[in-house]
């Protein structure tokens, strides 16, 4: 289980996360739990859209990880101190996989997660 950030775009630990659908899906779960979808959701446009293959801050493994962990702006800055390293690896794998998330896969993922906690305003499943 990684305790540190990737040491470059070709970190040897990457394959265990990026090529493992379970790890990618766990990243998607944390993406939902931590409320990332409130800005980066299905209707996100421009730089907030993470699935458009346009990487404003670089799309390599270490660049995506580093941006989420250290340079993410706004009230939610400083994820390195707030999210354990392994979850950051999983979230990074999920984000880098987003361009491959077809509408059908997204629909299934949304169905899977419909009752799960979403962000800090979540009030419970289907009330």
């Amino acid at each position: 289980m990684p305790q540190t950030a990737p040491n470059g775009a070709q970190d040897s630990r990457a394959a265990a996360y990026e090529r493992n659908l379970y790890q990618v899906a766990q990243g998607g779960r944390y993406f939902t739990w931590y409320g990332c979808g409130s800005c980066h959701g299905r209707s996100a446009k421009g730089p907030l859209n993470l699935g458009d293959r346009v990487w404003v801050h670089g799309g390599a493994l270490d660049q995506v990880y580093g941006f989420i962990a250290e340079r993410h702006p706004g009230a939610t800055a400083g994820y390195a101190a707030r999210i354990p390293a392994e979850q950051l690896w999983q979230i990074t794998a999920y984000v880098r996989n987003l361009p491959r998330l077809t509408p059908e896969k997204r629909r299934r993922q949304d169905l899977d997660q419909v009752g799960e906690p979403q962000g800090s305003n979540w009030t419970g499943p289907v009330r």
């Binding site: 707030r82 979850q87 499943p125």
Partner: protein, 319 residues
């Protein structure tokens, strides 16, 4: 037969009904069982008594007594089953009937693998959240609204009421009317993943005034720690990785994915009945949750020795 988690020692109206039904079924089925055994014994005895040398085949005349006996036996089965069906219909109707209209409203959400529990605040109408420990007022009906965040679970406090499945996308309602104070234990009763067995919760039945006092305490925000070690612990917990998933009201911790920790130290167990509440258990749980409850969604949090000590001290002070 007895204990904190036993349907044979009812401490609630619903469980008492089921308990009565259990003994009625035991009695009826037990009586039928004894009659069958008696019949077998009698038959064997008759066969032995009438044994003759097998040299000449004989044809028994029709046995009128046997025919009558069979008719009577069929009638007995019909009567026995009718009694059981009628009794279970009456008990189930009684359980499903709406009870007191001023029922206490509680929402329970099943998560892999813990229980989110929310009480309707009688003062503000909002919700007071806690986890893995259900408190109930004695003699008053509590209406539990069961929802699931992920998979099918089943909510069961055997001493107080029947079990009810917790279905994703649905809200199921269950009435609990405890009739005896004390501690009981509830358990997920539908296999829901690797840690299904560690998805338990404690149930405390209190006199109504004690319950009101407890609920008022739970409604409060977390206390600000006085001593410096616990204050450091507060920084570690509310400014670090815990805050992403856990809420501690009155602090910057506002995560929703994990159990509410506002009054964590007042609970009896850690990780949904996995460990007994103690500082050692809390510290171990933070450092190596996967070793204690493999598969749990709680990630290991690497803290320095002094920080881990401070964090567990702070969490234990959240009374």
């Amino acid at each position: 037969m007895s204990g904190l988690q036993s349907a044979l020692e009812p401490a609630g109206e619903q469980a008492a009904g089921i308990h009565g039904l259990f003994w009625l079924m035991m009695l009826v089925c037990g009586a039928m069982y004894l009659l069958v055994l008696g019949g077998v014994a009698w038959t064997l005895w008759r066969a032995f008594r009438r044994r003759r040398p097998a040299s000449e085949p004989t044809i028994d005349p029709p046995d009128i007594g046997l025919n009558r006996g069979m008719l009577g036996w069929a009638g007995l089965i019909v009567v026995g089953l009718t009694v059981l069906i009628t009794a279970s219909f009456l008990v189930e109707r009684n359980i499903a009937a709406a009870r007191a209209r001023d029922a206490l409203e509680v929402r329970v959400t099943g998560h892999q693998w813990w229980w989110r529990i929310e009480y309707r605040d009688p003062r503000t109408g909002g919700w007071i959240e806690t986890a893995n420990e259900l408190h109930l007022p004695l003699g008053r009906t509590t209406r539990v609204a069961l929802g699931s965040a992920d998979v099918i679970h089943s909510f069961w406090v055997p001493n107080i009421a029947q079990k009810l499945d917790v279905i994703p996308g649905r809200i199921n309602l269950l009435d609990l009317t405890p009739t005896r104070p004390g501690w009981f234990r509830g358990q997920c009763a539908e296999f829901c993943g690797v840690q299904h067995a560690h998805m338990a919760f404690d149930v405390k039945v209190d006199a109504p005034e004690d319950f009101e006092r407890w609920l008022a305490g739970q409604a409060k925000a977390a206390a600000i720690p006085a001593d410096p070690v616990a204050a450091r612990g507060q920084q570690v917990v509310t400014g670090g990785q815990c805050a992403m998933c856990h809420t501690i009201r009155g602090t910057p911790s506002t995560g929703r994915a994990g159990p509410d920790l506002t009054h964590f130290g007042s609970r009896r167990s850690v990780a949904a009945g996995t460990l007994t509440m103690s500082r050692g258990a809390v510290q171990g749980w933070i450092a190596q949750p996967q070793a204690l409850k493999p598969g749990t969604m709680m990630p290991p949090v690497a803290l320095s020795g002094p920080d881990a000590d401070a964090a567990s001290r702070y969490l234990m002070e959240l009374q």
